[in-house]
Amino acid sequence: MSHAFFVEILARNGDVKQRIPFHDLPIRIGRAYDNDIILDDPHTAAHHAVIETTEGGDVQIRSLESRNGIVYRRQRVPQQRLDDHTSVRLGHTTIRLRQRDFVVADELADSTNHQWEGWPPLLAGLVLIALQASFAHWLNQTGKTEWLEYLSEIATVAISMVFWSGAWALVTHLFSGQLRFGRHLFIAASGLILGELWSLLSSYLAFAFSLEFFTRYSTHFDTVVIAVVLFFHMVTVMPRRRWQWGVLTVLLAVGAMGLSVINSYQNTGRLAGELYMHDLMPPALRQSPDISIDTFMDQVQKMKAGLDEAQQEEIDPDELEEGAGPEDSPQQDE
């Protein structure tokens, strides 16, 4: 037998915390035990309000002997007509009344890839981690191939990724009751591979086409990769809030970039992370033409004006680092 009225106690974000069905009105609300809905909110009165039918046939909530009363849209009201979308606040409790004939929203299409859960993404993630760790180790090591070193490298990366994904899985469990550990591991591993590929690609772009921009601001590109990874982790935790997470990660990334620029400017006086590009690649990859010595020297000549301007600048004595000459100089034994 279905009920006619449903009083919904809402959480701050609008989710329903509790739904109490009723066959008929009035419904009395308050802290006293003779009410239909007993509230545990100390900011409500013993007999706080009543939901009833008016003479005109509408449904309304009316305040009884309460100190805090009923608040609707930030205004205290003696009574308020209730429809399916009206929520009112009593003390710290927000309630809404819905009737049986309420039309619910359309069914959402399920975008969650349910096959890609559990073991398959977990194993794929581990394979990606192994690939990335081996490649990075191969690239940065010279000389003989020591298989044990590869294994230890892979193990190190894998363990740190397992911890990272484990933390995300726990957070997911907190919100949705499932761990989705495999998913998280796959996301983390994909991020690793993406970072590695980007580092190669940016070095290539900088080296092949003289686009030093890509290595000069490499920390910012790394930040973007990390932000993308965070986004996917968050979406995995709460798939419904895609937009919210998107905005959050963009804000985080912009904030991190800003901080890194400020930090770099404070430490070095320039916005770029490095003084000059040091990434070199095999000469065969060079695409853009080399410039002549004359052109290079013209550019050097152009720096003079800037240096002379800096030379003229008075610098704040508090800013000075005592003895911070660029000389790695012979320390003086006076």
Binding site: T268, Y276, P282, P283, P330
Partner: protein, 461 residues
């Protein structure tokens, strides 16, 4: 034997220790007596007795609190009120007269004020005026006596602020490792003796105590007396000293760098061979080159290095030494590595070669130009960074970093540092250096091999 004691590190090595005041204590050696004229002790006794009236200790004090910052020695010339010392003893008074003040103490313990009159940064000399006159023990005749190698010399001063002392040694010719000559004095010089006189057995001024080599035993240096004459003439003609010495120092540095650059560019740069590459060096009395080779067999690559650097610098202040040139070349090669992996190895060695600070009191932050360039023979990556001297307009530090990009398994990385030069000179030498790296045809690889080490000290006069 010099070479076995020298460190051949590519980094700048501290060769000379200016001996202004005390920190390091070097072992003092007893002198072996090989004199013909008189037993050493009596000679030194006689000389000290006649010189002590005109011998001074100089102290640089903080105006605020009057605690001493540096101590050195000085001596009164003739019967006048001018005293000679080293520039590095009184550099703080020259650069920061608002913070530092000088005072002298004579052998009787009497103190008095010191006024800076003239200085010569390159020769490390200065003239100060004091409120007493000399007795004429130290004369500076127009015709200086000729020194013979092996001759006895005596240095006077106040080592380590312990008390006035005289030390004996021998004259061993002229060292031309800097762009101004030094006399080699084989005898002990200790911090605190800087600026003190060095005299012959006859009591004539041979030079002024200035520095010693930390990596040697009793290898000490004197500023020759002949450099003094010019400065004394200038000081005597100067009734009132200049208000600000910084422009004078700046001018002297500009003159000096011109001498240095004329020397560097006087003839085409010489070439040395590193693998198949020809790299530019300038080997001379002032610029010494050292080579080393390392075979990283385990890691599958080898490095060969040639480092050329000046062993002397111009001391301006504790934070700033300048007028120095160094060339550092390194060939990294691998026989059978993967080119991508090799490029990573090369990248590592190419990184962090140039350092910049925007908070230095002495120089501005570096500004850099970086490009892939090609000369007539070779493509390379070139980075040029320059910074300007804040206190001396017209002087710059140039750092040129290049690495060849013609071979997938071999690269020569070169780091050239030129400190305290004019922009035009920096440009000129950078252009020459960029054009000078070439690759020999493979069969001629070892033909132009090095001239080897030249013998160390130059012959005595």
């Amino acid at each position: 034997m010099l070479s076995t004691l020298c460190r051949r590190s590519a980094r700048a090595v501290r060769w000379m220790v200016l001996i202004a005041c005390a920190t390091a204590v070097l072992p003092l050696q007893a002198q072996t007596a090989t004199e013909k004229i008189a037993p050493p002790s009596s000679s030194a006794q006689r000389l000290y007795a006649s010189a002590k009236k005109d011998l001074l200790q100089l102290r640089v004090l903080l105006r605020n609190g009057r605690s001493q910052s540096t101590t050195g020695s000085a001596f009164l010339l003739g019967e006048g009120n001018l005293a000679v010392t080293n520039y590095h003893v009184i550099s703080q008074i020259a650069l920061e007269p608002e913070t530092y003040i000088g005072e002298y103490v004579d052998t009787d313990g009497k103190k008095g004020a010191v006024e800076l009159i003239a200085l010569d940064v390159l020769r490390d000399l200065a003239i100060v005026r004091v409120d007493r006159t000399g007795t004429g023990s130290f004369q500076l005749p127009d015709e200086l006596p000729v020194l013979e190698q092996g001759e006895d010399l005596y240095s006077l001063g106040n080592p380590l602020d312990l008390g006035f002392a005289i030390s004996e040694g021998t004259y061993n010719g002229i060292s031309r490792r800097g762009f101004s000559d030094h006399l080699m004095f084989t005898g002990p010089l200790n911090p605190g003796m800087s600026g003190g006189p060095n005299i012959t057995a006859a009591g004539d001024i041979a030079g002024v105590n200035v520095s010693h080599r930390r990596d040697g035993e009793l290898v000490s240096f004197l500023v020759p007396a002949r450099y003094l004459q010019q400065l004394v003439t200038l000081a005597q003609g100067q009734a009132t000293p200049p208000a600000d010495f910084k422009p004078i120092i700046g001018e002297q540095l500009l003159d000096y760098q011109q001498v240095m650059m004329d020397h560097l560019l006087s003839e085409p740069l010489t070439h040395k061979t590193l693998g198949p590459y020809q790299i530019p060096v300038r080997e001379s009395e002032q610029l010494r080159c050292w080579g080393s080779s390392e075979d990283h067999t385990q890691e599958n690559y080898t490095t060969d290095s040639i480092y050329c650097g000046m062993e002397s610098v111009v001391f301006i202040s504790g934070n700033l030494q300048t007028g120095r040139v160094s060339f550092d070349h390194q060939l990294i090669s691998s026989k059978k590595d993967n080119p991508l992996r090799f490029s990573r190895l090369v990248s590592d060695s190419f990184s962090h070669q140039i350092w910049s600070s925007h908070r230095s009191e002495e120089v501005t932050a570096q500004q850099c130009t970086e490009e892939f360039v090609a000369n007539d023979h070779l493509p390379m990556r070139a980075v040029l960074c320059a910074s300007a001297y804040r206190k001396f307009a017209g002087l710059y530090n140039f750092t040129l970093l290049t690495i060849t990009t013609d071979d997938p398994l071999m690269s020569v990385k070169s780091l050239y540092e030129l400190r305290g030069i004019s922009y035009d000179n920096g440009m000129a030498i950078t252009r020459q250096l960029l054009n000078a790296v070439t690759r020999a045809t493979d069969e001629a690889a070892t033909a132009g091999e090095t001239t080897g080490d030249k013998t160390t000290g130059s012959a005595a006069e």
